[in-house]
């Protein structure tokens, strides 16, 4: 949540973002987070998190059109603050939407194309994670990736369903 506060600061174009909580946590001293007293007189002390502006945000969408408009179904998790805070936005997507079709339901477009620098159509691109509502988490693939043994990473990369099954 402090991470999101930092992203929000960047998205809002201000140097820091007040955030609830954090009191009593060692994370404040570790990260050098400052407290300020409410300038409007409530007497409350509020932590302020410095702006975080990623160089690049990469998100995976359900559909993208040639203009870069990206539609995300299900929960957006952190895609909204992330894409607003980043200096550049790249989108991968399950499929290419025919031109003009996203306008039928513009509220499903999470990022408008003018904010997007480049797109790639990558079916199964969230693997081994899930992509609602198309496919679920591939738990066996996650478990084999986590194995601490030689070749685990290479085997994971070689499985690459986004390339091998659709390439």
């Amino acid at each position: 949540m402090t991470l999101v506060a930092g992203l929000r600061a960047a998205a809002y174009g201000v140097p820091f973002q007040p955030v609830g909580g954090v009191h009593g946590s060692d994370l404040a001293a570790l990260n050098g987070w400052q407290k300020i007293r409410d300038p409007y007189g409530s007497g409350k002390e509020i932590y302020v998190i410095p702006a975080i502006s990623p160089e690049v945000a990469v998100i995976h969408a359900n559909e993208v059109d040639e203009e870069g408009n990206a539609r995300v179904l299900g929960s957006p998790y952190w895609d909204h603050p992330l894409t607003r805070a980043a200096k550049r936005v790249l989108v991968t997507a399950e499929r290419l939407a025919p031109a003009g079709t996203l306008a039928a339901q513009p509220e499903l477009t999470l990022v408008p194309g003018f904010m997007v620098e480049a797109v790639a159509v990558v079916p199964r691109g969230a693997w081994p994670g899930s992509m609602h509502p198309l496919y679920e988490v591939d738990y066996p693939a996650v478990e084999s990736y986590l194995r601490d043994e030689p070749g685990a990473l290479e085997a994971h990369l070689a499985a690459a369903p986004e390339r091998n099954r659709y390439g």
């Binding site: 949540m1 609830g20 909580g21 954090v22 009191h23 946590s25 994370l27 404040a28 957006p76 909204h80």
Partner: protein, 240 residues
């Protein structure tokens, strides 16, 4: 004689913390808390609102996922109440009950999810709080749990304080602690564990006056648990 297992003692006693009318939330890497919320929906007659980190509001999952952040937890949900929404809800004081995991908890109910050992040369680097530092002081009540009840998990002194604030309850395979006057006190113990055993396996000092054996699992709680875990896969993942 009680037939509590480590698994059932944790899940059912987590579920028993939910009160009528509350808004309750379960987060990432919190399978047992997710099961507790789903159990309470089946076993108790009162209404409460269940939110989860996948963005679900009152979900009716067709199957129970292994991960508590699986999008299966938005099935049947009439709204997507995604991450920014539920964190903000908590920060403005509207989340009644938040289940937050931990690696270590101390006698004052503070938690460590950051590091074992020194920050700069850790023995184990943990996943981090995932919002715990914001949620624990701002939620009305926080409940945590540990599958391992030992002096290295329930400690006198934390290696690092990730979060502090409104932690009220700690549930383990053998005990339920509630905060009283700023310290965790023993409320219930699994009848299979003597008080001496709870004391020996707990790193912090605690008040045990008034502690009672955990009330037996009810028929409805047992039926709900069996419906959620028909093949015993979740139960098998909890070692005493």
């Amino acid at each position: 004689m009680s037939d509590w297992t480590p698994f059932s003692h944790i899940v059912v006693n987590l579920a028993r913390q939910i009160r009528p009318g509350e808004i309750a939330f379960s987060g990432v890497n919190s399978t047992l808390a997710m099961l507790a919320c789903l159990l309470a929906k089946r076993a108790y007659d009162f209404h409460f609102t269940y939110l989860n980190v996948a963005g679900g509001v009152e979900p009716v999952p067709a199957k129970i996922p292994h991960s508590s952040s699986d999008p299966a937890l938005i099935a049947g949900s009439p709204a997507i109440f995604a991450n920014e929404d539920f964190y903000d809800l908590c920060a403005r004081g509207r989340l009644d009950l938040v289940f937050l995991g931990c690696a270590q908890v101390d006698g004052e109910g503070r938690t460590n999810v950051s590091v074992i050992g020194e920050w700069k040369s850790p023995k184990v680097r943990l996943p981090g709080g995932g919002g715990a530092a914001v949620m624990m002081p701002t939620a009305k009540r926080v409940v945590t749990w540990r599958t391992e009840h030992t002096t290295r998990t329930l400690v006198e002194k934390l290696d690092f304080v990730t979060a502090a604030g409104n932690l009220q309850t700690v549930v383990t395979p053998i005990a339920v602690f509630q905060k009283r006057e700023g310290r965790l006190a023993l409320e219930y113990r699994n009848p299979r564990a003597a008080l001496d055993e709870v004391i020996r396996r707990t790193g912090f000092r605690f008040d045990a006056s008034g502690a009672a054996p955990t009330a037996p699992i009810t028929a409805r709680e047992r039926a709900a648990l069996e419906a959620l875990d028909p093949r015993g896969e979740f139960a098998a993942a909890v070692r005493a």
